[in-house]
Each structure stands twice: as C-alpha cells, then as structure tokens.
C-alpha cells in the first residue's frame, strides 16, 4: 500500500512558482487533482492560466520533478487540461487579494 497522500503531492507542487505572477501553482488553483495508485504512481491533472503559455512544457516538467522528490514515488504523469477553464475564483484568497481581482 502506498503511503503518499494527495496532501503530500500538493505540498510538493506548492514549491513550484509561476515566475510571471509570483505565486505557487497550488495557491493559484491550477492543480485540479492528484491520484495515487497502489504502486505509488502519481497522476497530476492541472491547467494553466493561459492557453499558449510559453512556459507550458517547463511548468509541467517542474511539477513532475517536484513530485518525483517524494520518497517512494513511482512514475509521475502530468496531464494539462483546458476544461474546466481556470478562473480567479479557483485561486486562494491571498492570490485574489494580491492580484486585485476581488
């Protein structure tokens, strides 16, 4: 049985910062889900704030590398989806406040 939890994965991904806005991907609300199977293989489902973001490939690589740092993790797959489209209501309150959206 795998001991890695969804919280562990989110915590690992929260070390990845978007260099344009300066917030981590978790507080931006860009991470939609993370699933872990019995062999500790992880699948992260996420989105990006803009389609056509020039950092697309790099951000997914950073997410993968961040999760791979967890002890005992198996394969890591990162899928970027566009539905549902990201919007500011998905972000944490501190992000909303800092960006001036609310």
């Amino acid at each position: 049985m795998c001991k890695i939890t969804k919280e562990d994965i989110y915590k690992a991904i929260s070390t990845v910062i978007d260099p344009e806005v300066g917030f981590n991907l978790v507080e931006m609300g860009l991470i939609y889900d993370a699933t872990i199977d019995n062999s500790c293989n992880v699948k992260v489902t996420m989105t990006l704030s803009t389609r056509g973001c020039p950092l697309h490939q790099m951000i997914t690589t950073w997410v993968k590398e961040a999760v791979l740092k967890l002890d005992g993790v198996g394969d890591v797959d990162v899928e970027v989806v566009w539905e549902p489209a990201w919007n500011i209501s998905m972000a944490d309150d501190n992000v909303k406040k800092a960006l001036g959206g609310f």
Partner: protein
C-alpha cells in the same frame, strides 16, 4: 493536448539583437524629430525618410523579433526555418539605413535599400507562411497572422513599384501608389498584426478569461476589407472606394477597441505596472487618433488634424503598445535563457524584478507627456510646443534604451 516545447523557443542570441537594434532606431528616429517643424506635407522626402526610419527601423524590427518568439506561442508549432531570422535582421536594418539615407541625402540609393528590405520581408513572410502550414489550430490570431502577412507581401510589391516610379524606371501615379503602399503596410500588416497578437498577449498578461471574441472577429473582417478597398481604390484611383475603405477601417478599429474594453473589464490582474500603464496610454491615444481622424474628414478641415491623428496613432498607440510589451517580453526571454535551468536548484528572480522600475517610470511619463504636447503642437502647428514635446520624448527614449540594456544584461 499540446505543449510548447523549449525546442520551439528561439535562442536569446537570435532575438535580443532585434530588440537592441529596434530600440536604437527608435532613439535615432525620436532625436531626428528635432529637425522637423510642426507644419509639413506627406510628400516631402524628409517626412518619407522619417516614416521609414520609424516604421521599418523600430516597428518592423521589433515586430519581426517579437514574432520570432511569439509565432510558436500563438500557432503552437515550431518555426519552419528559425535560422532565417539571422538573415532577416541584417537585411532589414541595413536596408532601412540605406533607404533613410537615400530619402534624406541621396535619393538614387533608395531602391538599393528597398531591395534589401524587400528581400528581408519576403523571407519573413514566406517563413511565416511555411510555419502557418504546420499549425493545427484555427484561432482569430492565426487568421490574423495569415492575412497580415498577405497584406505585407502586397505592401512590399507596391513599395517596390513606388521605388521604381520614384527612380523613373516605370511610369506610375506616385501619390496613389504611395497611398496604397502606406495603407497595406500600416493598416494591413502593422495594425492587423497588433490586433491579432494583442488578443493573445493582453488577456495573458492581465489574466482575463471568459470573454467573447465576437467583437475582434467583426473588427478584423472590417479592417481587412477596408485595407483592401483603400488599396484597390488608390491603385485604380476610385475615390468612393477609398472613402468606403477608410470608413470600414474606422468602424473595425472601433470594434477592436470595444474588444479590448471587454478584456479590460474581465481582467483579474489589476496592478498598474509599466505594461498596464502603457496599454492604457496606448489605447487612449488610439481613441484620440480616431477622433482626430474623423474630424479631419469633415468639410474644410486643415491637414493638421490628420497629422495629429497619425502622430497619436504611430507614436502614442503603436509606440506605447510595443514599448509596454518590451517590459514583459524581454525579461521573459532573459529569464527563459538564463534562469529557467536553475528552477528548483536555487532562488530565481520573478519576471517583474528583472526590469528597472525607475527608468521604466521615467520612460513612461516623459514619453506620454511629450507625445501629448507634440500632438497638440502638430494640431495647432505650433513649433515650440511640438519641439518641447519631442524633447521630452527624447528623454523617454533614452530611458527606454537604458532599460533595454539593463534587462538584456540582467543576470549576466
């Protein structure tokens, strides 16, 4: 699902020279304004020289450099032959310098510079078309790239005919061909490119989502038809068709402004950084330019209304849209090249830390106030006011140049 690969991104050493040379041409163009008066005619060779210096040396060089980076982002494919950009820049820069020298001092060399510029633009347009063929997506921005490059090719052809006409090689109505050439390049390529690219960049930088793009589609179609109407009307001297084209372009730009307003309302990021301030000033200048342009078409209005309208369009709108985006694009390129490999290993700077804030603020205020004063000076044909405005823009251009050098050297 599609991912932009790092392999698609052109190296900094390819793109940085476009920005360095573009900003240098901007500085030279602004300084040279001191030698002009507030009253002039469009057909003066000195004016034609300045227009080419600014539009080719600054606008085109920066747009071409930005497109080297943005085409893969917008089309979501790599360039067909990215190394061609190493050839495009020297041809365009040297060709422009020769043309401007020709317009100002030795007219017989204009066509030599024109051939170099022509070659550079043909290579750019063909490379863009080859890249477009690889694209699998079909957005308004992709259509804009296709249509604007087609207009660019026609603009180049009319420019070449114009050069031959001025050199006495062929017999053409220079005034009409000049009108078609100006409209095809300025409206067909520069305006449509800005319209298309800004629909990608402005929502990206302001974090605006969920807006309808109906207004930009209508605006895009109207401007495209308008440019075609003016070009055909000018070449065949059909006045009614030219006026129909002007009207369609004006309405199309109105739809574009409305689209930007919709994006503005839905933006999440409300910080007034140098980019946001530049966009506000740029679009305010565009609205002012439209108003001045409409007034010019009323009966018995002086040509100074048109001069002032073009001033706010070229320096206020195009200038600020380009310069404002430089503070986003250049730090990104430098960050991508020098800092992205260090992510996760050491602290890397945020993009907003990579441009000099004080120089950027100085660039904004000196340029904005200068453009406003200069535009009023042109409108009332007041030399002192015009030159006072130009003096301030020169100071702004120096701060832009310093900013560019600092951004490109960040982390070196």
């Amino acid at each position: 699902m599609f991912a932009i690969s790092k392999d698609f991104a052109p190296p900094l050493k390819l793109i940085a020279p476009f920005f360095k040379i573009g900003v240098t041409f901007y500085l030279i163009a602004i300084i040279s304004l001191m030698f002009f008066n507030s009253s002039f005619s469009y057909q003066e060779m000195q004016i034609a020289g300045w227009i080419h210096l600014f539009l080719l040396g600054f606008v085109m060089v920066i747009i071409f450099g930005a497109m080297a980076q943005l085409i893969p982002v917008v089309l979501e494919v790599g360039h067909a032959v990215v190394d061609l950009y190493y050839v495009i820049l020297p041809l365009l820069a040297i060709g422009t310098a020769i043309m401007v020298f020709g317009f100002w001092i030795e007219p017989y060399i204009i066509s030599y510079g024109g051939v170099l510029v022509l070659t550079s633009m043909v290579i750019f347009a063909l490379e863009a078309f080859a890249t477009l063929k690889k694209a699998k997506i079909d957005t308004i921005t992709v259509k804009t790239v296709a249509v604007s490059n087609t207009f660019l090719l026609f603009g180049i052809v009319t420019g070449f005919i114009l050069a031959l006409g001025l050199g006495g090689v062929v017999s053409v109505d220079v005034t009409n061909i000049l009108k078609a050439h100006l409209y095809l390049v300025l409206g067909g390529f520069v305006l449509l490119t800005i319209m298309g690219i800004s629909l990608t960049l402005i929502p990206m930088f302001s974090l605006a989502h969920g807006f309808s793009d109906r207004a930009i589609k209508i605006g895009f179609n109207l401007v495209s038809i308008g440019v075609l109407a003016v070009a055909i009307g000018s070449i065949f001297n059909i006045i009614a068709l030219q006026y129909l084209g002007y009207l369609l372009t004006l309405i199309g730009v109105g739809f574009y402004i409305y689209q930007i307003y919709l994006i503005y309302l839905l933006r999440v990021r409300k910080e007034l950084d140098i980019w946001a301030k530049s966009m506000i000033f740029g679009f305010s200048s565009l609205i002012l330019s439209l108003i001045l342009g409409i007034v010019y078409f009323l009966p018995n209005m002086s040509e100074s209304w048109l001069h002032s309208s073009m001033w706010f369009f070229i320096l206020g709108f195009i200038g600020f849209l380009i310069n404002g985006h430089l503070y986003k694009i250049v730090p990104f390129l430098v960050w991508f090249e020098r800092f992205s490999p260090l992510v996760g290993k050491e602290r890397v700077p945020m993009l907003h830390e990579m441009y000099p804030k004080e120089e950027a603020t100085a660039m904004f205020w000196y340029s904005a106030i200068g453009i406003f004063l200069g535009g009023i000076g042109l409108l009332i044909e007041h030399d002192f006011l015009f030159k006072s405005g130009v003096s301030l823009i020169i100071v702004g251009a120096i701060f832009l140049y310093i900013s560019m050098v600092r951004m490109l050297n960040y982390g070196k």
